[in-house]
Amino acid sequence: MRHRATVAFGVPAPRVRTPRKLETMKTKMTTSLLLGSALLLTGCAQSTDASSQSPAASSSAEQKSTQAQGLTTSDTWAKAAESGMSAAFGTLHNTSDIPLELHRVTNAQGDEIQLHEMTGSGQNMSMKELEGDLVIAPGADVELAPGGNHLMFMDLKKPLVAAQTTTLTLEFSDGSSTNVDFAIRNFDGAKENYDEHAGH
């Protein structure tokens, strides 16, 4: 455990993030598109232009890959909680040769989920919402771990029950998205307190 409940989190009350306007129409991808484009994951030119991701333009095998297609994950898990806050962790790996810019995380029940980063060191670690996107460089891993970057559930609408699985939708800056399953586990760490009175 890299940090404990005694760590002082000098962060003010969390900002409620206003989801950026996403051109969600363009994020809808059909299964046939995926089946077609998933066959070729290599040789993608850099492209962050969401407008190139329309289904009509994507049916060709020469279609540029989306950011979502470059993601693989491992050891993804979320902390069990009946209500309130919780967090999700795991390793995000970029298999592509373009940067993956994780822009937003959502789930089916509409929980508010923030991307958080830890700053500082030792007893002076503090947590804040990430400014901008979480960027995964080509070929690189980003580890989401207790005491480090993580995905934060701000106020659960449904319990996260140990041994079950919860699915999060990871949305990237090009409008592409992917679903990732997180195994729910008991965990006594990650007791970050986001109460605005903490540390006062």
């Binding site: 991808m29 059909t30 995926l34 693989t72 298999t95 990732v180 008991n186």
Partner: protein, 389 residues
């Protein structure tokens, strides 16, 4: 039995990065969205020091017995909703835990994953009580009956769920038990933790129990063992599954101290010194109940332990995989046996022993339970998946 190998396969040192990179093409699309590939198909390491989680049978049953064991029993705490789905999720989690721990990795959310290496032949073997079979609606192994002389204690009951943890290294074992127990917290209430130890005798799958006797001499080997434990696919509760009889016998070692060697050998029917039967001269000699001594009396008394324990027919054959225990107050034998159907093997034999075994004078049964041991699985599957078809 090979000693634990402390070398670490290079594959393990590569970590999840390499595994993720090697994950290959994307699979498992949802409708309208893609699903990121989870790199869970990492190949399990093999070689000395590792037992495979995947296979026809679960490990920890007919493979070589490790020197240390912990048997942990839990009852399930049900939430609202489908019990069957809750049990399924729990078994999926346990399968993930076991696969990771046996390959030397920490479980998800592990706070001390470093302690999983080297696994030192760690095995986790999962069984269900009849109560959980009833939840699935599949299979019948029944309950352990009461036996004559039972003085069962509340702290060693039948539980819903059982995991047999075994390893050559008690530190690895402790970590594995704690990691799994933390994952089961709130989903379950722990009913017992029974720790055991043994030291195999050179070249033999035998060990000295705390009476000083050589234990395990008549255990079946090879194909006879496999047949006794798993049958032919038709005569066990499920193909490639088996049953575990778990009994805790306290030994009265202070009163055993009062018995001279001849009396001890008479009660067992074998010599304490070398394990040879009183009807022969070598540990490899068969138990011959018709043999007579120079006085014309049976060499092995009718109520000697080996006379009563001898299978009446092949169907009564069991495979013992027990351990010594010493919990600080009591010591004895943590009897564990695997057999394809306890009702036609372990249970009739145990009734014979409970009624007349000369060793009963120094033995008190204080714990007793029977479990359905799940079949092995292939990679990508989970333990118990056959029950949720």
């Amino acid at each position: 039995m090979s000693m634990p190998d402390t070398s670490v396969p290079r594959r393990l040192l590569l970590g999840s990065t390499a595994a993720a990179a090697a994950g290959g093409l994307l699979t498992g699309f949802g409708t309208g969205r893609m699903r990121a590939q989870a790199a869970t198909t990492e190949q399990a390491p093999t070689g000395p020091g590792f037992r495979s989680f995947y296979g026809q049978y679960q490990s920890g049953i007919i493979d070589d017995q490790q020197q240390h064991a912990v048997f942990v029993g839990w009852d399930l705490n049900w939430r609202e909703g489908s019990k069957k789905q809750q049990l399924q999720a729990l078994l999926q989690m346990l399968s993930d835990d076991a696969a990771r721990l046996m390959s030397g990795r920490g479980v998800l959310a592990d706070t001390e994953p470093e302690m999983a290496l080297p696994p030192s032949e760690l095995t986790l073997t999962v069984g269900l009580g009849q109560s959980l079979l009833d939840v699935t609606g599949y299979g019948k192994v029944g309950a352990m009956p009461a036996f004559a002389g039972d003085e069962l204690k509340e702290q060693y009951p039948q539980s819903d769920l059982l995991i047999q943890f075994c390893s050559q290294d008690p530190t690895v074992l402790h970590h594995a038990v704690r990691a799994v127990s933390k994952n089961l917290r709130e989903l379950t209430s722990q009913r017992f933790v029974q720790t055991g130890f043994m030291r195999p005798m050179p070249g033999k799958e035998t060990f000295r129990n705390l009476f000083g006797q050589v234990d395990g001499i008549n255990n079946p080997a090879d194909q006879v063992r496999e047949q006794a434990v798993f049958g032919d696919g038709q005569n066990s509760w499920i193909p490639n599954g088996t049953t575990l009889a778990l009994r805790r016998f306290e030994m009265d070692l202070d009163r055993w101290d009062e018995v001279d060697v001849a009396g001890r050998d008479f009660a067992l029917g074998r010599r304490q010194s070398d394990g040879s039967p009183l009807s022969g001269s070598s540990i490899d000699d068969a138990v011959d109940l018709s043999a007579e001594n120079e006085l014309g009396l049976p060499s092995i008394a009718a109520n000697a332990h080996v006379a009563l324990a001898k299978p009446g027919h092949g169907g009564e054959t069991i495979h013992r995989r027990g351990y010594n225990f010493d919990d600080g107050q009591h010591s004895g034998l943590l009897f564990a046996s695997y057999q394809r159907d306890a009702r036609s093997s372990f249970i009739p034999v145990q009734h014979r022993l409970a009624a007349a075994d000369a060793l009963n004078t120094w033995l008190t049964p204080v714990g007793s339970a029977l479990y359905a041991i799940l079949p092995g699985i292939a990679e990508g599957g989970y333990l118990g998946q056959q029950l949720f078809g």
